[in-house]
């Protein structure tokens, strides 16, 4: 079949490939995707084109034929597309939104949330170039080593590989996310003015976040536009992934423009990178050949939805010995901000059979009379009676690992969006194990802080009868809905992120996480995307 763009034209484009200004000022949103020849001042003499293509204005007349089609230009999609920029692989990047947000596109993200209280689904992600990195907070940290391990007290735990496998990709992901070099331990950021809290036997550790809210769309759009072999289509919504009759391969993608035309894309390889909820939605909605949806022979797509349960509970009065606590307050370190958090060591969690969790220290208003008195007692025992004036008070801001739960899930709703696609229903379900794990983690943390002479803790969840506190919510981290496992009966994708049984369909993003750890997901998403890109490069050799 002939591609929408003739091979000769493509060769011309590839031969003339040169760099484009990356200052972010000259990317043009063009209605034409096939501009060959020098057209723009800022793109240098040999530049053929420097555009992002607006599918509303000019949808292709013919089917697009490409080598690699990436659905979704968020953190994962952009990271993969960049890996192929300047190569001989023809890349088509299909993005639902434009360069800026618009209400009609964003409303495609609307859905219903049942079970555990959750954010409005259209307010928990961004649907335009750059995806949810347009609104993320930029907190980055890798998963811990034992997050990858099979832990017999965490059902369904275990990744098909260990963290060491991902380590080189984590290091590369640092640059993609515009972070400092790899380093996330307390010791990597501790200084005499911002010391690390030291606990006996290292039973409690300090992890540090590197924080840089890098907007992937803004940062990389010029680079994408300048890459001769990458066509970035904006306002191009994939509404169905159509398999061949045997569902062994993706035959083509159906793409729709809001209030506009429909077109299709054929690709040797397809990467689904539309985010942790939408990845499942698109697979489930692609149900014309297999009624349960693509990759869903074992009823796993959409199940195991995980969040990072987030709550403020558990109070901490530091002893004078524990101060200053500057490492644990948000502070700038060069191009990033840094925040230290407390965590139980892997050994402690193993012994107590706990899920992972971290606690950051959220300052609270000055202590009341009781806490002031307690501050005096703490100083007496921990700091030889040092005066305890102006004792600060903190509440733990807890970020928890959610134990994988097949009943926590994303499903298709009956209601349809403006493109005719079923909306989603989210049933985020936590279990008593999740709650119990946090409660027991607090008890251990309270003992360890007391034992180290660093202060006292009022552990617990704060809710009535051991219930979750009222402020419990997620962190807008959507994970697990296309989980990775080497066994097709236990996972939607294999260790290479390929959908089991579908040779040319891969999934990128946190939907592939089998477990969530307690670290924010995007650094891992990017590391996995880079790993997938390396794998795909082999496929194209």
């Amino acid at each position: 079949m002939l591609g929408w763009r003739g091979a000769a034209a493509r060769d011309t484009i590839l031969k003339h490939a040169t760099g484009c200004s990356r200052d972010g000022s000259d990317t043009e949103l063009r209605s034409s995707h096939r501009v060959v020849g020098p057209t723009r001042r800022s793109c240098g003499p040999l530049t053929a084109r420097c555009v992002l293509i607006d599918a509303r204005k000019e949808a292709p007349k013919q089917e697009i034929d490409t080598d690699l089609c990436i659905i979704g230009a968020g953190a994962a999609g952009i990271a993969i597309a960049r890996e192929f920029a300047g190569t001989a692989v023809r890349v088509t990047l299909l993005e639902s939104g434009g360069r800026t947000p618009d209400a009609a596109t964003q409303s495609l993200y609307r859905g219903t949330s049942m079970a555990q209280k959750y954010f409005r689904l259209d307010a928990a992600r961004s649907r335009y170039l750059g995806g949810s990195t347009n609104c993320w907070m930029g907190f980055c940290r890798p998963l811990d080593e034992d997050d990858f391990e099979r832990r017999d007290w965490i059902p369904h735990s275990g990744w098909p590989y260990d963290r060491a496998t991902l380590e080189p990709y984590y290091r590369r992901a640092q640059a993609v996310c515009a972070l400092r070099p790899f380093g996330y331990r307390g010791v990597d950021f501790a200084t005499p003015r911002r010391p690390e809290l030291i606990f006996p036997d290292a039973r409690v550790l300090t992890h540090c976040f590197q924080i840089a809210p890098t907007r992937f769309g803004e940062l990389y759009r010029d680079e994408l536009a300048a890459a001769r072999n990458v066509d970035t289509w904006l306002y191009a919504n994939v509404v169905e992934i159509e398999p061949d009759p045997g569902t062994r391969r993706v035959a083509k993608l159906r793409v729709r423009v809001l209030d506009g035309p429909e077109f299709s894309v054929r690709s040797r390889v397809v990467v689904l990178a539309t985010g942790g909820i939408e990845n499942a939605r698109l697979l489930l909605a692609s149900n014309r050949v297999e009624a349960a949806g693509l990759g869903n022979r074992h009823d796993l797509v959409g199940r195991f939805f995980m969040e990072h349960p987030h709550t403020h509970s558990g109070e901490f009065l530091p002893s004078p010995v524990a101060r200053p606590l500057g490492l644990y307050q948000l502070h700038r370190r060069g191009r990033v901000e840094v925040l230290g958090v407390l965590a139980l060591s892997a050994a402690v969690r193993r012994d107590a059979r706990l899920a992972n969790f971290t606690a950051s220290l959220a300052p609270r208003p000055q202590a009341g009379a009781f806490e002031r008195d307690l501050g005096v007692v703490i100083a007496g025992f921990d700091a030889e009676g040092e005066r305890a004036q102006g004792i600060p008070r903190f509440v733990f801001s807890n970020e928890c690992e959610q134990v994988p739960n097949p009943e926590s899930r994303v499903q298709l709703a009956y209601e349809r969006d403006a493109l005719g696609m079923n909306r989603v229903t989210l049933k985020w379900r936590l279990t008593s194990e999740d709650r119990d794990s946090l409660r027991r983690s607090h008890e251990i943390l309270a003992r360890e802080i007391g034992r180290a002479g660093l202060g006292r803790v009022k552990p617990g969840l704060g809710g009535a009868d051991g219930a979750w506190p009222a402020d419990l919510n997620g962190a807008r981290h959507h994970m697990g809905t296309t989980r990775m496992h080497s066994d097709p009966k236990q996972g939607v994708v294999d260790a290479d992120s390929r959908v089991h049984g579908i040779a040319n369909l891969f999934v990128a993003g946190s939907s592939v996480f089998p477990t969530s750890g307690a670290a924010n997901p995007t650094l891992t998403i990017v590391a996995l995307a880079l790993r997938l890109a390396d794998h795909l490069k082999q496929e194209f050799v």
Binding site: L317, D373, V376, V377, R447, G450, R456, V457, K458
Partner: protein
């Protein structure tokens, strides 16, 4: 021997040595528990910048006990049963007594000897010391 036993033995040994020398030096008699002039209570007060604050915490703790302990019981528990030796050490070397109590307080967390006061996790030693001061000061 467990670490816990070791700790207790160290504590008793310290009391023993201190008590012997103190008694030899002062020939002090027995004081009634809860007496404001009790040297042990005086030494315990020395732990804090503001003993009144410790009394308030102690009173809160006592109020939460199903069977509120009296001062004597608390001081005896603090002294690990050797209250006279503790008093003697309080007279002769209060700093050594307090150092021992601090060490025990940290070990309490290690061995799960903890107490809750309004949800805050304290060491049992800490709670007892505060409780004893509260009782001796007429609170709680």
């Amino acid at each position: 021997m467990s670490e816990r036993d070791l700790h207790r033995r160290e504590f008793l040994a310290q009391l023993g040595v201190g008590a012997a020398s103190a008694l030899a030096f002062s020939g002090a008699g027995v004081l009634a528990c809860g007496d404001a002039r009790d040297p042990l209570v005086g030494a315990l007060e020395g732990l804090f910048d503001d003993p009144e604050a410790a009394r308030a915490i102690g009173a809160a703790w006592i109020a939460e006990q199903p069977t509120p302990p009296d001062a004597e019981a608390l001081l005896t528990a603090i002294a690990d049963g050797r209250i006279e030796a503790a008093r003697a050490l309080a007279r002769s070397d209060p700093a050594a007594l307090l150092a021992q109590l601090r060490a025990r307080h940290h070990a309490d967390f290690d061995f799960g000897r903890t107490a809750e006061v309004r949800g805050w996790l304290l060491s049992l030693t800490e709670a007892r010391v505060c409780g004893a001061l509260a009782r001796a000061g007429g609170r709680g």
